[in-house]
């Protein structure tokens, strides 16, 4: 058929692309209008409760003064949030318009408190929904807490390091000042006082109970001997030296000749019955 057309001089030489005939789509406007006229029911508004309106003003975008592109014609169906907000605002505008109308026709919108009727979703289902929402909230809270804790720990660690460093620096300064004094380079003893003054002030500020000597000597000895957290690494075991050390050996006590603490016991010992009798007879 192409060759025939070419022969007839209709087609020009060169590439001839086969073009689809544009499909003729039915748009019977007259028919549609007629149909609508036949079919429509002129019901009072109360029966239909329909409204046609644009969405209500977008408060958020007004506040931010964004150039909100969507007039009705430009709604981008792919931007989920924008699209859903559009639908939401359309519904809002409907409600705002409809409320006065409904009131005029005395149609109630609020349910009275004691009106119990079946709901579209069962109570069980609503409970499931509520549980899910609560669990979501909990997860969020937990993650927030964890984040905060992490931050705090980092911060705490920083502070700790700073404090230690400060202490070391102070110690260093003190030692060098003392040495200077010892070497006679400075004859002022201000560094001591300065330190004490600062110490007093700081201790008044801090609430720590300052026990200068720490635990008493007795406590220290007991800790060392019996404590679990004291000096470790074999201090409670015998060594060669400790084993050969017989300085703690008291022969008398060891051989049981000490008696009652040697001779000391009771100085005032009460005499026996016979002796007391004799004394009594004498006096």
């Amino acid at each position: 058929s192409l060759q025939e057309a070419f022969a007839a001089g209709l087609l020009k030489p060169g590439m001839n692309v086969l073009v689809d005939k544009p499909k003729k789509l039915v748009n019977n406007v007259e028919g549609l209008k007629q149909c609508l006229a036949d079919f429509r029911k002129d019901l009072p508004w109360v029966e239909r409760l329909d409204l046609t309106n644009l969405p209500a003003a977008n408060i958020i975008s007004q506040a931010e003064e964004k150039a909100s592109a969507p007039a009705a014609g430009e709604l981008d169906a792919d931007d989920d949030f924008q699209r859903e907000m559009f639908f939401y605002r359309q519904a809002q505008a409907t409600i705002l318009e409809a409320m006065p109308l409904l009131n005029r026709h005395s149609i109630a919108t609020k349910r009275p408190e004691d009106y119990f009727a079946e709901m579209a979703k069962s109570d069980q289902h609503m409970q499931k929904i509520r549980k899910k929402l609560i669990s979501k909230q909990m997860i969020m809270e937990r993650s927030e807490k964890a984040k905060k804790l992490r931050e705090q720990r980092k911060f705490g660690k920083k502070v700790q390091i700073e404090v230690i460093q400060k202490r070391q620096q102070e110690k260093k300064a003190m030692m060098s000042a003392v040495k200077k004094y010892q070497k006679g380079m400075t004859d002022k003893l201000e560094f001591l006082e300065g330190d004490q003054k600062m110490n007093k002030e700081s201790s008044q500020g801090s609430k720590k109970a300052v026990n200068k000597k720490g635990p008493s000597a007795k406590r220290k000895y007991k800790d060392q001997k019996f404590g679990f957290g004291g000096k470790k690494s074999g201090k409670k075991w015998n060594t060669k030296e400790s084993y050969n050390d017989v300085s703690g050996f008291r022969a008398k006590i060891a051989h049981g000749k000490g008696g009652k603490k040697g001779k000391g016991g009771k100085q005032n010992k009460r005499p026996g019955k016979s002796v007391r009798k004799k004394m009594k007879n004498r006096s």
């Binding site: 039915v26 748009n27 019901l43 792919d78 409600i95 409320m99 919108t109 929904i129």
Partner: protein, 301 residues
């Protein structure tokens, strides 16, 4: 306050065989939302749709929502005014049912809905016809025995991207705070017919692409990509292995030749004379240094 139920609308909601769980739940949800709806068993003949009119007559319904599932993938929805009226066929997409946990609203079962339409529905005749169909089908008649007298939810129909988006919101406060109840779906218009499930076509949607064509296009695009890649690979292979032509004369050989001037050809027959080199008599270093110091002393004193 009861009154007489005058607006006798009844909607028959049923489906064909081969629907999946989501469609079934959607149907049930619609029946829950619309107290003036009736259910029927599945229809197993998909080709003779006009029998639906008879089913409607038996059930005394004057509207029908018929869900047709094809290939266990695509869902089509017919909405029709039963004996004579117009009907429309849609492709249904993005179905979310009442049971989804993200749709947290709730409403009375059988309460009357407000209907909210996009102004675009009034701009085209086919949309105007659809709007009338939706109003008659979805609005619950007043004083219907199964209905509740309160108005506590709103259906929205919006046109975006040449499709009709349906949403259902619960009215919480009268100032307009809403929560979505569900279900939600998107309708893609295919055709509008003058009769119920038949009759002359009044409107055809030019932007509609059937799901089959859509899938086919995707597959063709993927295939075309693969084929292109293969072709490119083959061409590269061919280039590598093909014998290269041997050039006899290099065309670019004399690009950089600059013809020099002709010099007279001197032929030397005699050897050139040896050059006389004046040899400097240099003293040894030590002697030089001594001389230098002498020189300096002379000048300094």
């Amino acid at each position: 306050p009861t009154g007489k139920w005058t607006n006798k609308e009844r909607v028959l909601i049923f489906s064909s065989r081969g629907i999946n769980f989501r469609t079934r739940h959607l149907m049930q949800d619609l029946r829950t939302m619309m107290p003036h709806a009736k259910a029927d068993t599945k229809m197993d003949r998909k080709d003779k749709l006009f029998v639906i009119n008879e089913v409607c007559e038996i059930k005394n319904c004057n509207k029908c929502l018929y869900f047709e599932a094809k290939k266990k993938q695509d869902l089509y929805m017919w909405i029709s005014n039963s004996p004579h009226g117009p009907s429309a066929k849609f492709l249904v997409q993005n179905i979310h049912t009442l049971a989804e946990l993200k749709l947290t609203g709730n409403c009375l079962k059988g309460s009357r809905p407000l209907l909210s339409f996009d102004p675009k529905f009034d701009k085209e005749p086919h949309y105007a016809l659809l709007k009338e169909l939706f109003i008659q089908t979805f609005s619950t008649p007043r004083y219907h025995p199964k209905s509740q007298p309160f108005v506590d939810h709103v259906f929205t129909f919006t046109i975006a991207d040449n499709r009709i988006w349906f949403r259902n919101y619960q009215i919480i406060e009268e100032d307009g705070s809403l929560v979505e109840i569900g279900p939600r779906f998107v309708l893609n218009l295919m055709k509008i017919f003058q009769g119920s499930f038949g009759g002359p076509t009044l409107y055809e949607n030019p932007d509609f692409r059937s799901p089959n064509m859509h899938r086919r296009e995707m597959r063709l695009a993927a295939a075309a990509k693969v084929r292109e890649k293969q072709m490119v690979k083959e061409m590269q292979k061919g280039k590598k292995t093909s014998a290269k032509e041997d050039l006899e004369s290099d065309v670019t050989a004399d690009v950089f030749l600059t013809p020099a001037e002709e010099k007279p050809a001197d032929i030397q027959t005699e050897a050139p004379e040896p050059k006389v080199v004046k040899k400097k008599q240099k003293a040894f270093k030590r002697q030089r240094m001594q001389m230098l110091s002498l020189h300096r002393n002379q000048y300094s004193t």
